[in-house]
């Protein structure tokens, strides 16, 4: 059954950690039980709020890694060494712990069957997280829309969801070992569909990565209206 998010005020909810999965040396997936979770669309995110004992509050956004079809909500968090929130999430959290989150958030960077395709997903680093939700949803509904992921990571060890991605149509490029190749115009042309097939493109990664990939795609002749982007970066205040 298709679940839809309820329109109205977003409320902070207590989510209980069910399981922690080390994905790479720097990224961890956190599986939550959220009693009143209204369901989400693939590609959406949540806000996470941490409150220190002295009342100091830090809020960050994290993409949802799980598919709408999954039983539990899962986030995958990359540890930023100078971060205020991510080291706590990746290093300190244990099963049974509770944190506050609100969501789902986002109506733009989402994919569902009615949007069609072909769907060309392009990820830089942990930008793969919301795209994994899309691929997983795509597989769960046995969609006949072609979908392909082009994913750039530094090393093989940094590839998040490495085993799972083998089940999908995925091309991984490593920038610091093996082929040492970045996502550029040539690679986008080689792996993606030609502009004439009007692929729906989802780009997610650090700001500089997203802008370079978007410029290259437009340069190849892709319609900017068919390109959706989500940039992430350090957002500490």
């Amino acid at each position: 059954m298709e679940r839809t998010a309820v329109r109205g005020r977003l409320t902070w909810q207590l989510a209980t950690v069910v399981e922690l999965i080390a994905e790479t040396p720097r990224a961890k997936s956190i599986v939550f039980d959220v009693p009143d979770w209204p369901g989400h669309r693939a590609g959406q995110h949540v806000d996470v709020r941490l409150t220190a004992e002295d009342g100091y509050v830090a809020e960050r956004s994290y993409s949802i890694a799980s598919a709408p079809d999954d039983e539990h909500l899962m986030l995958t968090v990359e540890r930023l060494d100078d971060g205020e929130v991510s080291p706590y999430l990746t290093d300190e959290l244990r099963p049974g712990d509770q944190i506050e989150l609100r969501g789902p958030i986002g109506g733009y960077f989402v994919w569902e069957q009615s949007l069609g395709g072909p769907v060309f997903l392009v990820a830089g680093g942990s930008g793969v997280v919301p795209l994994r939700a899309i691929l997983r949803h795509h597989a769960a509904i046995m969609s006949d829309v072609p979908a392909r992921l082009l994913y750039s990571a530094r090393t093989l060890e940094d590839v998040i969801y490495r085993d799972e991605l083998e089940h999908y149509d995925v091309r991984i490029t490593l920038t610091r070992e093996r082929e040492r190749r970045r996502i550029d115009r040539e690679l986008l042309a080689e792996v993606g569909w030609p502009p004439v097939e009007r692929p729906l493109v989802y780009l997610c990664g650090p700001t500089a990565f997203v802008e370079a990939a978007a410029d290259a795609l437009v340069g190849l002749g892709h319609d900017p209206m068919r390109i959706r982007a989500e940039r992430f970066g350090p957002t500490g205040k």
Partner: protein
Amino acid sequence: MTALDGNAIGGLLHDVFGGEMTDALGVCAHCGRSAQVAETIVYLRGPGTVARCPHCANIVMVFVERRGVTCVDLLGLSSLVAR
């Protein structure tokens, strides 16, 4: 300062407007071109949160939170329509 995009303020906008706004369509009061909120260029690290037009960089939205009250300046937009 790293620029993000309007996806990053989905929660804040939801608080202010009471609904999903990243796919709302805004028209820039300076250049007259339109963009979805998710496509705006967003800076989170200033004293407030600033969103700029992706076409002309005009400031379209400013949010400043003070003692639990969010002050909203939308003078840079000529219209903003939620889906």
